[in-house]
Symmetry: C2
Subunit: 415 residues, 2 copies
């Protein structure tokens, strides 16, 4: 059971936008046991699209296409569908009514001819009704392959995948089992982990595959088992994870791929009825943005002071000017005072503070490029650690964010 995901759009091929749709679709397919064979980005060109359809016909059972369904002239997927399936467009009444409701109701203006054309669909298509936007999805079949076309706007695509595409695929196809288990590790490099778990990895059964997914400051390990007996797969994965835990227990922070460390932290804070605040200099609010991206964060996240300017550290967080003059604004002492300052200001149980020099220029600080101090304040204590995350700027910021979350997570493990 294989699928290929096709994104259509010159804006992807010239690098102007990053394709995030394919990964969302692949994850959804994977959960129902459909393996993504390939992802493909192609141009807004009729011949190119037709050639691609021809190539994929009968190579895979499912082709999911995103993009090229918008209201404007550069969108040609629908016409190409008609060519490929030797079909013509008709106006779908339900879709037209829906387009009218959105445009007239939400935007408070009459629909235009361009809006009206969104309700056109090929006569042979099953319409996938799009409650999240004006462009409908379409499901068409030819020989052994289903072609599904979705709008490229991410939240519209997501709505259709979750509410139309997946339920329809589940109904149509019988699928094998795929079991994944991700192990999230923090603070150790890929090659060092590989050395430590080499013997274990060599002894994995044939039907289990291991992958290393490194990103700044953390490595995710992913086990994938494929087969027909779900129970055997699950038991073997469970056994292997236990063996792995014996080898690298100290760096494992969690097991759920949909649970990045900020979600794990949110759960711990909720469960223990504790609150958190951040005082951020070099991370510029990114820790707060991560923590608050999670629904329900208001239960435990009090807030943040992004004290980017030195004077803001003094005026808002109450960091002492003498300490700054003596140790420099990028220093262990300032990080500590920032953490204690925001903890007091927001009446939080815990606080994270970052101060560093992300570069590319030295800025206010004497500290070397890439130097970052991270302080963690708990109800009765405060500690600080020093790092150098090198360059470039974005890497320094990302690693500082990762490391800060790791440090506070480990602090909770101790309790």
């Amino acid at each position: 059971m294989k699928a290929t995901i096709v994104t259509i759009g010159d804006e992807i091929l010239i690098g102007q936008i990053v394709d995030t749709n394919s990964s969302y679709i692949a994850k959804a397919l994977d959960k129902i046991g459909i393996a993504t064979h390939e992802m493909l980005s192609i141009s807004d060109d009729k011949e190119h699209i037709l050639n691609t359809f021809q190539k994929l016909q009968n190579e895979v059972e499912v082709v999911i296409i995103t993009g090229g369904l918008g209201p404007t002239k550069d969108d040609i997927t629908k016409k190409t569908f008609c060519d490929y399936f030797e079909d013509t467009l008709i106006e779908d009444e339900a879709v037209l009514l829906h387009v009218k409701e959105i445009i007239e109701g939400f935007y408070k203006r009459p629909i235009t001819q361009i809006n009206r054309e969104q309700a056109l669909v090929p006569t042979k298509a099953k319409v996938l009704f799009n409650k999240a936007g004006t462009a409908p999805g379409m499901w068409m079949e030819k020989e052994n392959t289903v072609f599904i076309s979705l709008p490229g706007v991410p939240f519209e695509m997501k709505y259709l995948i979750d509410n139309e595409v997946i339920p329809n695929l589940v109904q149509k196809f019988e699928r094998p089992y795929i079991v994944h288990q991700t192990i999230m590790t923090y603070g150790r490099g890929e090659s060092l982990i590989a050395e430590q778990i080499e013997a274990w990895e060599d002894n994995l059964p044939e039907f289990i595959k291991l992958a290393y997914l490194p990103s700044p400051g953390k490595v995710r390990l992913r086990l994938t088992a494929r087969g027909n007996d779900k129970e055997i797969l699950q038991n073997e994965i469970k056994k292997q994870v236990q063996l792995l835990d014996l080898l690298i227990h100290e760096i494992i922070v969690g097991y759920n791929e949909d649970e990045p460390i900020e979600v794990v932290l949110g759960k711990i804070l909720t469960e223990k009825k504790l609150t958190l605040a951040t005082a951020e200099s070099c991370t510029g609010g990114k820790i707060a943005a991560l923590m608050t991206a999670i629904p329900g964060a208001s239960n435990y996240f009090k807030g943040s002071v992004v004290s980017y300017a030195t004077q803001t550290k003094i005026d808002v967080l109450g960091v002492s000017k003498e300490v700054i003059d003596k140790y420099g604004v990028v220093s262990a002492e300032v990080a500590k005072e920032m953490a204690l300052g925001v903890q007091k200001l927001t009446k939080s149980d815990y606080a994270i503070a970052t101060t560093g020099n992300a570069g590319p220029l030295k800025g206010d600080a004497d500290a070397e490029l890439g130097a970052v101090f991270i302080a963690i304040a708990s109800p009765n204590d405060v500690f600080v650690e020093e790092f150098n995350f090198g360059q470039p700027r974005e890497k320094v910021i990302d690693r500082a964010v990762s490391k800060a979350l790791e440090l506070i997570y480990k602090e909770f493990l101790k309790k």
Copy 2:
């Protein structure tokens, strides 16, 4: 002159990571006039990789492959290269020395066997020396196609693209001219813009293509001209942009695709020697994180108070409890007090404040789901606007961030 970009890795095909490498590479190729024909993501499987190489052989002049070069066992690109080019691996002395320097110098430990294997390269390969990491890039040629293999870690890939791949491609190939011009618009929908500029679009010369790139709250318009005479292309693009400006002047915020609105704002603030601060509730620090991602932000960005909890709005920003009780925490009055509060606290010239209900639950607020108030404080004034960005949560946050930046940008235009 065409290229295809191939990313190798099961982690992409199961949707665990988003491929951002391809877009970086495509942008770099586009700048030197090489068009990306397709992007392709395939599995860590030798047969799959070999089949892909075979298919691309002579279909395009350049194939750039990322991923599958790391130190761990799931990385097989190098061995597959040997198969495809009928070659064997040898240890490259310069690369080995470099690996030793990084591991022994930076990580302070002796190199392992796995580290050592990173210095192995096919005998026929031109080594692309990777100063940003341990895995070298490789350049190999067969008939009319160059195959270039790069590590998948983004900052290593970027280093090699900028410093090795692009300079080598420029030297090897003659290329046609491609001129792009992006027009950034804020605050009007795609289909409405399309109606307004329809006559202009219909009259564009054959060699110029227009694309619409919508994202929450903004639409980028991209003109692409291809041809052999650079000057003609540039003049025609310039002329068309002037005509377009006559039609939609009021929604255009800039013309540089590498200049998102936060960069434009940074330039205005620097030029006018003004400072900015933010008080963020529903946007959770995301405006601050965007502003501070830009090098040099410390010249104009004073900081932010992420007043996520209601009490933090009172304690840190000085919002009056009476106002909150009377109007609710998601209200025009609270947004205004937040903006004035952070402006005073950080002694900034301008301030942005956001308060809203991003959902999915109602939280502290009585306001409806998706409701957001954005206030802008300037030296002598403060104003507030109300929006409803619907659902889901991530869309509300993203649109609030976009809209806030648009509002302050427009405020500067008035002066």
